[in-house]
């Protein structure tokens, strides 16, 4: 069966699970799952996500040849399932996380070290049907061994020097050069998936908007779309346009701040000051127009909770004009400074092939030739009705990620103008019927594609919600990108990725 079989032909042989929308879900037995793993080794199917509930493991896949998407599920009566990590390295950390939360073991996964569980929860497998005992003594995390002459290690974190999220980085260096970076995360794990269970849609949506605060709009849209899919509801047209309006504002605000922060990490603080001022302009307009600086709780299942007035619309138009002019000026300054580019060009290179292997999207992937963008494929309203290009850069270095972001800002500003110009009238919200079902959504946040999977009970409460942040597939690339660079360039590389901690620690 190897060769040119499509994802749908392949999974279509399994048992289709009713009530999973908008893409199908198939239930496989263990043999079928094993064969699927084998098929993955010869197929261009991207792993979009891998998660568990108490009894099953689910993998979301996309066939890159025809953009078809499907979920495959396998039951784990013996609390184990065949690992995908051999054919999709992106699965490694996801499988470690599944083990920590559900006590389900990926057979064939080489790295069986815990990921989220630091031995401090007073129990193990907290989301399993039967929870496990806590560790008997203090847990020592075994970092990967490194051998070689004159190597030294630099441990950094979880508390970093600046105001950023916590995580641990273990650098192994030969002189100034990093020969290996190992990340250890999980410090901000707050049990989001456990908290989701049993919540009403409105409460769960609020929580979804706090999975990664800088992407609150994108997460809230992902949650809303998954809930709408699960219940077979379609939000009114104006709600889609309002969502896109706020999502693009969020994208612009984040890209601009990061552009300044990257330059700041190359000791050019002027740019950070300028970008902070621009960002503040956006945030204060957000508050004025939508009542919240970060736009939290503005997107709800069934629609949106805010509207834009005529006056708000003209304020936003003014903002777009101002940003366009001022971002262009700052881009010129960057372009004009060889001393700055000396730090960014050729630094922290992500190989395109590696980005593809990990299925990394967002600006990290696009700055390394991987053109995916959920707004285009699979696409969702209103983007199918909007005119925009997704820029791509081939070089994969810090400089490419900077230009990638600046060009995405330009594209988003043009989108905001189109949205304001053409936004349809009508209601902002539609009630969600109380019924059970399963839904999945793919939404492009500023970091990349967010996947959110949702199972609702018959009384409309959350049974299981799994949000997969784009950073799951970008963090591992940072480990590779820093190799061979000097330690002093790490902040620069790290900032140019700006992966989420909270989004992956959950």
């Amino acid at each position: 069966m190897l060769g040119n079989v499509t994802l749908m032909e392949y999974l279509g042989g399994g048992r289709a699970v009713a009530g999973h929308r908008p893409w199908p879900r198939y239930s496989l037995d263990e043999r079928g799952w094993r064969e699927m793993v084998h098929q993955l080794s010869v197929s261009d199917w991207t792993l979009l996500g891998l998660w568990a509930d108490g009894t099953e493991v689910h993998a979301a896949l996309r066939d890159e040849e025809n953009a078809a998407i499907a979920v495959a599920s396998v039951g784990c009566p013996d609390r184990r399932y065949p690992s995908l990590s051999g054919v999709r390295p992106a699965a490694i950390r996801l499988e470690r996380a599944i083990h920590d939360l559900y006590g389900l073991t990926a057979e064939g996964l080489e790295d069986q070290r815990p990921w989220l569980d630091h031995g401090r929860w007073g129990q193990s497998a907290p989301l399993a049907i039967v929870r496990g005992a806590p560790p008997s003594g203090p847990v020592v995390y075994p970092f990967l061994p490194v051998e070689g002459e004159s190597l030294h290690q630099i441990p950094v974190g979880p508390v970093h020097a600046g105001v950023i999220e916590p995580g641990h980085f273990r650098f192994t260096c030969a002189g100034e050069t990093v020969v290996r970076l190992e990340e250890r995360l999980g410090y901000t794990h707050k049990g989001v998936e456990g908290h989701m269970a049993g919540k009403s849609l409105i409460d769960a949506a609020r929580l979804a908007g706090r999975i990664s605060g800088d992407s609150t709009v994108a997460y809230a849209i992902a949650f809303a779309r998954a809930a709408e899919a699960a219940t077979g509801t379609e939000a009114p047209p104006r709600a889609h346009w309002m969502r896109a309006l706020m999502a693009e504002l969020e994208r612009v605000a984040n890209h601009i701040l990061d552009f300044g922060a990257i330059c700041n990490d190359a000791a050019f603080s002027f740019m950070l000051a300028q970008c902070t001022v621009l960002r503040e302009r956006i945030l204060s307009v957000n508050e004025l127009c939508f009542g919240h600086r970060l736009l939290m709780d503005t997107v709800i299942p069934g629609g949106v909770a805010v509207d834009v007035t005529r006056e708000g619309s003209s304020i936003l138009r003014g903002l777009v004009k101002e940003l366009r002019k001022r971002v262009r000026r700052l881009a010129d300054v960057y372009d004009d400074m060889p001393s700055l580019q000396d730090r960014t060009v050729g630094t922290g290179i992500v190989q395109s092939s590696l980005a593809h292997r990990f299925g990394a999207g967002g600006f990290v992937g696009r700055a390394a030739s991987q053109g995916g963008d959920a707004r285009k494929v699979p696409g969702y309203p209103p983007y199918d009705d909007l005119d925009f290009e997704v820029p791509v850069h081939p070089e994969g270095d810090v400089n490419a990620r900077i230009w990638q972001r600046l060009e995405e800002v330009t594209a988003s500003l043009a989108l905001i103008e189109q949205i304001l110009e053409r936004m349809p009238g009508g209601p902002l919200h539609k009630p969600i019927p109380t019924r059970g079902g399963e839904g999945m959504a793919l939404v492009e946040g500023f970091r990349g594609e967010i996947l959110l999977w949702l199972r609702l009970s018959e009384v409309g409460r959350v049974v299981r919600c799994h949000p997969r942040d784009p950073s799951w597939f970008q963090w591992p690339l940072l480990e590779a990108a820093i190799e061979g660079n000097i330690v002093a360039d790490f902040p620069l590389c790290n900032k140019s990725f700006n992966c989420s901690y909270s989004g992956v620690d959950l």
Binding site: G191, T276, V277, S502
Partner: protein, 183 residues
């Protein structure tokens, strides 16, 4: 446009900084109560802050960055973020205190010299916020450390944060009577 021209324009246009808010009266009261029993060392209207994210969603961090920028310009009040807890007077904590961060938070606190203050920023740090309960969080900074000031909000706005910190500064300065510190 060249950097030189842009800098020149910026010089001509004057500061982008907004006027500072008044210290939060409620905050002063809460702090007054918190510090009433203690002797306070004079800080000379200067506060050094070490921030620790104890499991936040990073929304609170975004607003801290805003406060640090030119528009709110925290430093003009003598308040300033430092990298080492050994240089800090104030521990500013965000997040519901995930169990995985509790030890690092406690160690950061222990590394700070006395007198020291703890500020819980945001609804999460106050009582766990929407992450309260469950196996993974302590549900508020007060479960681990003595909290002197709580700044509510999700996230608190820069002005909330600024007036809270100014209140802290007022109280610290009023108490600058040269007595030995006992925090």
């Amino acid at each position: 446009m060249s950097l030189a021209r842009l800098l020149f324009r910026e010089l001509l246009r004057g500061p982008r900084t907004i006027e500072g808010p008044l210290p939060d009266p409620l905050g002063i009261e809460q702090l007054g109560r918190a510090l009433g029993e203690r002797a306070r060392a004079g800080l000379g209207r200067s506060l050094r802050i070490r921030e620790v994210d104890a499991g936040s969603c990073n929304g609170c961090e975004l607003e801290i960055q805003a406060v640090n920028g030119p528009v709110y310009d925290l430093e003009r009040f003598g308040i300033h973020f430092v990298a080492s807890p050994r240089h800090a007077d104030v521990l500013l904590v965000t997040g519901p205190v995930s169990r995985n961060m509790a030890e690092a938070l406690r160690r950061t606190y222990d590394a700070m010299p006395s007198p020291k203050w703890v500020v819980a920023m945001g609804d999460c740090a106050a009582d766990g916020g929407c992450f309260a309960g469950g196996y993974a969080v302590l549900g508020g900074v007060h479960h681990l450390l003595p909290v002197d000031l709580t700044i509510p909000g999700c996230p608190p706005t820069p002005l909330n944060l600024l007036s809270g910190l100014l209140a802290l500064l007022e109280v610290a300065a009023v108490g600058s009577d040269g007595q030995a510190s006992g925090a």
